[in-house]
Symmetry: C2
Subunit: 209 residues, 2 copies
DNA sequence: ATTATCTATAGATCTATAGATAATGC
DNA sequence: ATTATCTATAGATCTATAGATAATGC
């Protein structure tokens, strides 16, 4: 029986994650979630007596925990090589349903009670931001990349991964993994023409600034 | 009198933009906007007989038009120099209230009628995305940057500018313009150590991939 | 007895409409 | 006459609660 409890509650969380992440906390009603599950709205209170807010909270915590696993595994599997680490993190996100947790952390958190808000922000930070930030700090310590505020780097990378979720909804967009590779190359190698592709005249310009 | 009509309607749009952009279409009620203006909720129907959706639509169109001016001016003032163009576009966004139009284009548009949705998406594209995309296309034609899907480049840059709005709300964050400069340098120069800072051993690694 | 659902409904909003009121400008 | 507001309220949701029902497992 314990098993069935977990199954049906997990199914509620699955649907809640899909809907909340796609259209936001305020746009989704308990009725939307119940309809999608084929049950009545009031039945959700059996699984989450605390109502909509508790359901959102539980959904977000489960999601953060899952991403924490995915991100730290990608980092650990490529110790000492930032590019591979980022590539595997991107592959992890590609394997998951669109994240959009950045916009979520802003607009949706504002709708929650101060305690829930604070707790979720904290968990999002330790689950996703902190490991990634550490990843950049270590790459800097190894001399692999130049000094730049690691908060900014982690924020940019997560932000861009989040953006992939939106980008892929466009018609005619390249596959997500190809976009992720281009983004990582942009971040690490930069866009300026250099090395063998570069003419002498361009080279002086490139390094003048 | 004509003047006063414009003033009070513009004031409604100002408040609507602040609130809608900060917390999203669904989170903000007409009462929130009216309260902030010090008027009653029903009075908004004098300015926008079409109600909440028309108000959002008008607010978004005015905002897109304003950003179109800002972006194209920044581009035109630095013709032939991508880095300066991007820097001035970033400065433009820093001068404006936080954008968050990316998340808006996703979650908020979904709440509108199909016609409004289509029209706004179209206007956002021509006002902001298209000029920036063209900017990257021309930099590629000049040989200033390497070939990469210009849609991706424009999307990344706008996305990161959008992210600055969120980033600056954190405690202890560096000033927005400093973060913008770092982001532009990351995009153009990349993060990898190279040029004079680079050792011979590292150089072979840098260019091997 | 426990699990997972249901029906019915109270109470709180929220959008939108109808029509009144007050101030300004011709 | 026009502009900009107001009061009052209908109608539609949405969240949450109370208590009933059906199925499963001991």
């Amino acid at each position: 029986m314990e098993q069935e409890v977990r199954d049906s509650t997990q199914r509620v969380l699955d649907v809640a994650e899909t809907l909340f992440m796609d259209r936001g906390y305020n746009a989704i009603t308990l009725r939307d979630i119940a309809d999608e599950l084929g049950i009545k709205q009031a039945s959700l209170y059996y699984h989450f007596p605390g109502g909509k807010e508790q359901l959102f909270q539980a959904m977000a915590e489960r999601m953060f925990e899952r991403h924490h696993q995915g991100i730290t595994a990608a980092i650990a599997a490529n110790e000492g090589d930032l590019r591979s680490q980022l590539r595997d993190i991107a592959a992890w996100f590609s394997s998951q349903r669109p994240v959009k947790f950045m916009g979520m952390l802003h607009a949706d958190l504002a709708a929650l009670s101060p305690e829930h808000k604070e707790e979720l922000a904290q968990k999002a930070h330790s689950a996703m931001f902190r490991p990634l930030r550490q990843c950049f700090v270590e790459a800097q310590a190894r001399g692999e990349i130049r000094a730049m505020h690691p908060d900014l780097l982690a924020g940019c990378f997560l932000w861009l991964m989040d953006g992939l979720s939106y980008g892929e909804t466009r018609a005619g967009a390249p596959p997500r993994q190809a976009m992720a590779d281009d983004i990582i190359s942009m971040m690490l190698d930069g866009l300026l023409l250099r090395s063998s592709e570069i003419s002498a005249a361009q080279r002086t310009w490139v390094f003048q600034s």
